[in-house]
Amino acid sequence: MTSIEKVVEASALGKIYETTDSKLEVLSDVDLEIREGEFLVVGGASGSGKTTLLNIIGGIDKPTSGRITVFGEDLAGKKENFLADFRCSKIGFVFQSYNLVSTLTVSENVAFPMEWLRKPEDLIVARTDQLLKNLGLHERREHFPFQLSGGEQQRVAFARALANDPPLLLVDEPTGNLDRKTSLKIVQILETLKGEGKTIIVATHDERILGLADQKVWLEDGKLMKYDE
């Protein structure tokens, strides 16, 4: 297997948060391998380190120890500008709390990651329209995030994460704050994306999403285990 087929490769990954008088070990000795097109679900109790793991894979946070390679790039030692460009082109991130830019409209929120990559304006407009139509948000394109429901905001977050058509999608608790009906729509979106062959890592407890997984892992006390264990 070539290294590019391994989308994510983590070995002996550790993360400790230090304060002046205490240390909190969030991840300990985590080994992980995700291949192209795989759907991985990370489970675990609240505070078990799921978000931290996603942040490290996404280059938002850095590990205290160990090695993390994404698309063959060792992210731990990379400069902030490289990481920014890397996230923009390779990774789509759907945050637990949606994290939309409140000063931008729905369509602007979806479009701005494409602007960072300096894509042509007509292409940006077309791609934004297409994504919003696919996710049933076209009517809401000129609204601001605070004018949307939680489910709508989550779908905008998906649209933004897909804007640059990244090969890796990181999704943090996508149904955690949503009602059952809205959650179902999110599950359908993930199913479609899996069908398109995207590599997806989802941190969740949702049984329906677990059903989509090719690989399931569980985080407990900072240690990563196979779901069956």
Partner: protein, 621 residues
């Protein structure tokens, strides 16, 4: 936890914000203290116009100038002080809401945060009066070291105390307002960003710009912070008005007043007279910045008269048009009442009184004077008319309406036809026709000559040439290059105006800190958004880009308003008949550009600091 320990710990944890508030408020207090003490020291009580070292004409420019600067500095100080304290407390509204939501009683919450205001305002005022007083003492010491006697006024403790309490009370009131406002609303509202810092969730003015996202984010954020944005624009507008009045007004007034002195003393003029008269004349010219001429000096001593031979020799050497022979003497002159006619009723009205004053009376030949005074009215028509032109101080002190009155010198009456700005004898001077004065004095000789030398030629050579002629005639006579005395006068004026121009820069420094405080506030509110932008692929420089656009918008708005108001105030109110050269305009533009650039660069500091932070630190709530 006691109120004091909570407040002290809280202030220490927020070091940057605390330091910003204290520094900007302290600078506002310092510039006010310095201005008031300094203006008093150089002899100008703000409300009194004609007293002190300068002539009344200079005071007419200087006093309103100082008064306007004082008003603007007080307004700027009040606005800056209140803005910073208000901002500091506005940032805490969310915490106040959280404490209330957790069950902390209103009075305890108020106590905690009001103690913070109390500490910050007290420290700022104390540091401010200390800096202002030290700056004043430093200026005074410097003045004394270069021989300018402007430090006779004792240290005015009351001014310092009044400024301290004014700012202290103002700071407390402005700081208490947001705390009281927050304590009045329900906790859930106080926690919401729509209440704190006046954040509006819905933008009524939809931005349709197709420019880059950074511009849209910058503009929309300013619109959302409408209340704080308006406050900072008002605050900076006042400061830029002050800076414009200080810099543009200072430079124009400097040029204008220097022009008056040069015209009155005479450019490239050399004085020839008996060495005693020379010494007295120099003292009289320096009276307006140094003082010390003898009132009992007898100018009409036989030994001081200039012989016809010497006059003729100098005339043949330099041409009669370059020779300005004068007869100067000190005597008591008297005001004569004037009469004015009422327009419709034809009733007459008596003007003036019967005041008298000792002044310098100078006989000159009209049409041959080297001086070209800045005049109100006109100069003497010819040798044979009983007319006089009085100095600005004499005109202001001894007459009610000089131009409709007369003046008596040695039982002879002269019509006052003009008022001139003249530094000699501190403006207590009267010019009369030489021939008439000689007749009154029963003397036919002048006692001093001014000679205009060629500015393009060799100055030393010309002075030596005159000296050789003079010494050959009378060894008791001296030759004095008046340019030296003129330079001293100009140096004094230059020092005064440059000191005045220093004041707005202290306020500008305070305003720059204010802007930094505002930027920190808006960045704090946009913190998570910046985190999101970076998390989805924006480079760290995007933060600097957004903040720089916001600062630029705020600064340009304030700059436009401030510079416009400042220019109007300077040209229409402060300096009448200003002397404005291309060089002056360039100087003003340069200084104002520097002020703008410095403020802008300062405002970027929080953004640069923020951009260097790790992404996780920014995204953490």
């Amino acid at each position: 936890m006691s109120e004091t320990s909570f407040s002290v710990n809280d202030l220490l944890r927020r070091r940057l914000q605390t330091a910003l508030v204290i520094t900007s408020l302290a600078l506002s207090v310092a510039s006010t203290v310095y201005l008031l003490l300094f203006s008093e020291r150089i002899g100008f009580s703000i409300s009194l116009v004609a007293e002190g070292k300068l002539t009344a004409g200079f005071s007419i420019v200087f006093s309103p100038f100082i008064l306007m600067l004082t008003i603007l500095i007080l307004i700027a100080g009040a606005v800056i002080g209140s803005f910073m304290v208000s901002m500091m407390m506005t940032q805490r509204i969310r915490d106040i809401g959280l404490m209330k939501a957790a069950g902390c009683p209103n009075d305890l919450v108020f106590g905690y945060f009001f103690t913070e205001v109390l500490i910050v305002v007290f420290v700022s005022c104390a540091v401010g009066v200390a800096i202002g007083s030290v700056a004043d003492l430093g200026s005074t010491t410097f003045l004394a070291s270069i021989g300018l006697p402007v430090s006779q006024v004792p240290f005015d403790l009351w001014t310092v105390v009044i400024v301290f309490f004014t700012f202290f009370v103002l700071g407390l009131v402005m700081g208490a307002k947001p705390i009281l406002d927050a304590s009045k609303v329900e906790p859930f509202k106080a926690v919401s960003p729509s209440f704190s810092i006046g954040l509006r969730k819905e933008s009524s003015s939809k931005i349709v710009s197709k420019s880059a996202f950074t511009s849209r984010i910058a503009v929309r954020s300013l619109v959302r912070h409408r209340s704080a944005t308006i406050k900072i624009v008002v605050c900076l507008s006042v400061v830029f008005t002050l800076v414009t009045v200080g810099v543009a007004g200072g430079l124009i007034a400097d040029q204008t007043t220097k022009g008056w002195v040069e015209k009155a003393v005479g450019r490239d003029a050399v004085l020839v007279a008996h060495h005693d008269v020379c010494d007295q004349y120099k003292l009289l010219l320096g009276e307006f910045f140094a003082g010390g001429s003898e009132s009992s000096f007898n100018f009409t001593d036989e030994r001081y008269f200039i012989s016809d031979t010497l006059l003729n020799e100098l005339g043949s050497l330099f041409g009669n048009n370059s020779i300005d022979a004068r007869l100067a003497l000190k005597t008591t002159v008297r005001e004569i009442q004037g009469i004015s006619f009422g327009g419709d009723t034809n009733q007459t009205q008596t003007i003036g009184d019967n005041r008298k004053e000792e002044c310098l009376v100078v006989g000159v030949e009209p049409g041959r004077t080297l001086s070209d005074w800045s005049l109100k009215g006109r100069f003497l028509a010819n040798d044979g008319v009983w007319e006089t032109v009085v100095g600005d101080t004499l005109g202001g002190e001894m007459f009610s309406e000089p131009l409709v009155q007369r003046m008596r010198v040695f039982e002879t009456n002269f019509d006052v036809v003009g008022i001139c700005i003249d530094p000699i004898n501190n403006g207590r001077v009267a010019y009369v026709p030489l021939k008439i004065l000689e007749n009154i004095m029963h003397s036919t000789k002048p006692n001093l000559i001014l000679i205009k030398i060629d500015a393009q030629g060799n100055r030393t050579e010309s002075v030596d040439q005159i000296r050789a002629v003079v010494n050959a005639q009378n060894s008791e006579f001296s030759v004095v290059d008046l340019q030296v005395v003129l330079n001293e006068s100009l140096g004094f004026l230059g020092y005064i105006w440059s000191s005045v121009m220093l004041l707005p820069f202290l306020t500008l420094a305070a305003a720059a800190l204010c802007l930094v405080g505002y930027v920190i506030l808006t960045m704090e509110e946009q913190r998570q958004e910046f985190g999101i932008l970076r998390a989805v692929g924006a480079r760290p420089n995007v933060v600097i880009d957004v903040v720089s656009r916001q600062s630029l918008i705020v600064l340009l708005s304030s700059y436009g308003l401030g510079v416009s108001f400042g220019t109007i105030i300077t040209l229409l109110i402060l300096v009448q008949n200003p002397v404005v050269t291309v060089y002056t305009v360039l100087q003003i533009a340069g200084w104002l550009a520097v002020a703008f650039a410095v403020t802008f660069v300062c405002s970027l500091y929080p953004a640069i600091r923020f951009a260097r932070k790790p992404l996780m630190e920014i995204m953490r709530p």
